[in-house]
Amino acid sequence: MIKVEDLHKSFEDLEVLKGVNTVFEKGKTNLIIGQSGSGKTVFLKCLLGLFTPDKGTILYNGKAYQNFSKNEKRELSKQMGMVFQGGALFDSMTVEENVVFPLKMFTKMTKGEMKNRVQEVLDRVNLLDTNDKFPSEISGGMQKRVSIARAIVNKPNFLFCDEPNSGLDPRTASVIDNLIQEITHENDITTVINTHDMNSVFEIGENIVYLENGLKAWEGNKDNIYKTDNQKLTDFVYASNLFQKVRITQREGL
């Protein structure tokens, strides 16, 4: 579980996060949504430890990050898996080398054990016969799956995803969403997904945090997002005609 209390972050004169409070629960797919510039990426980078907050506390499994010793911080980073927007796969490494990388760096596994674990996670994300291919030789959807495999190979307690299905066709995006949700449930981990894809919101939004101008403006799940009276959230969620029709259908109970 990750608890965020009064999180502030500024860049020079620009205040991006203005006191965010929320809880990301274990075993659930937690979504951060909001318009471009609402502070989603900065928020995620604060959770990852890539940005140091100006004020506020982030508690990982009940312990505040600022109270972690250097070793504890190092251990925490080993418990984190991250799926980047563009995959962030290492270009010079093959699929297998990318996935085995965290194991090589942080475990004392034998080569055989590593190979087995890599094959296990590649099978889990449905990637077959791609072990020796380079990232440039596989499709965008496959790259995302390799990125997920790399993120979970170390059996992390926290999984972070930055717009995991951006640039993918709707079917592949749905596959990736469902894969992340299944992995979250199977491994009982805390997953935080940064997205502005409304399909993801309605498919896997077990806990949704809506950010607006650096503040949490709404929190709920995919079922009660239909009933919200928050005008800016409804404007954001139902921006497309398709989702407006979905909303009308839901409200009319058809």
Partner: protein, 247 residues
């Protein structure tokens, strides 16, 4: 503007400090160093040998053509070629060539990793990305003086070939000039210079790649800026070391 330069200089030294902290796993570092040796040193040998041979030849021809006085011994061509190649051409000129070849490669490869969030991926995993990316390059560039030694040797071979086979002087005269008034300290000075240049060649382009902001267009711009600054710093350090050791 001045404050930006001062800030960048400070940031550069912080980068150097951070590069030597929180070391990457030894087995991985060994692999990375061998990889960098191949990318930075071995792959540069071809162009260094080619340029050294022909520049050595040109130095010899130009020296020969400018010695019209019959009282000046012909062996001076060998002497002048040796001095030019060992003192200036091999260490400095080759370093500038390397700033273009190796420097732009370092900046663009690290810059691309920055743009595509690969550096963030390393940081999230708890890896010191500066140590992972820059440290192996610094260690690999410690082999730069060997490149310079090869450049000196090939440059002199070029000078010998052009002057002897071009009919300017005999082989004996060239070899006599080559050994005339040889001061071993000058070779030490050349290698010391090349060692300093090696550190500049590894770190300045890394700095420009690591701290770049923007997209692929900015990667290209960073590579150009990196070449300019690496060359400027090499030229300045060349003057500084020469003043310090030879004057």
């Amino acid at each position: 503007m001045l404050s930006n330069y001062i800030k960048s200089i400070g940031q550069y030294f912080i980068m150097i400090y951070e590069t030597f902290r929180k070391m990457t796993k030894t087995s991985e570092l060994k692999r990375l160093i061998l990889q960098e040796l191949d990318d930075l040193i071995i792959s540069s040998l071809g162009i260094v040998v080619f340029i050294s041979f022909f520049i050595g030849a040109v130095i010899a021809i130009q020296t020969a053509l400018n010695f019209s006085n019959p009282f000046v011994p012909k062996s001076l061509i060998g002497f002048a070629a040796r001095q030019s190649i060992i003192l200036e051409f091999a260490p400095t000129f080759v370093a500038i060539i390397m700033a273009g070849k190796v420097g732009s490669y370092i900046t663009s490869s690290i810059g691309t990793m920055r743009v595509s969030e690969q550096i963030d991926a390393l940081e999230v995993m708890g890896i010191n990305s500066l140590n992972y990316l820059v440290f192996p390059k610094i260690i690999a560039m410690f082999m730069f003086p060997f490149v310079i030694a090869i450049s000196m040797f090939v440059g002199i071979i070029g000078a010998y070939t052009a002057s002897v086979y071009g009919g300017f002087l005999s082989s004996e005269q060239f070899l006599a000039g080559l050994q005339e008034d040889f001061i071993p300290f000058q070779v030490f000075y050349a290698f010391l210079k090349s060692f300093v240049f090696a550190i500049i060649l590894a770190t300045v382009p890394s700095f420009h790649g690591y701290y770049m902001k923007g997209g692929s267009l900015e990667v290209g711009r960073a590579a150009t800026t990196s070449f300019v600054w690496t060359s400027v710093i090499i030229i300045f350090m060349n003057y500084f070391i020469t003043q310090l050791l030879l004057s």
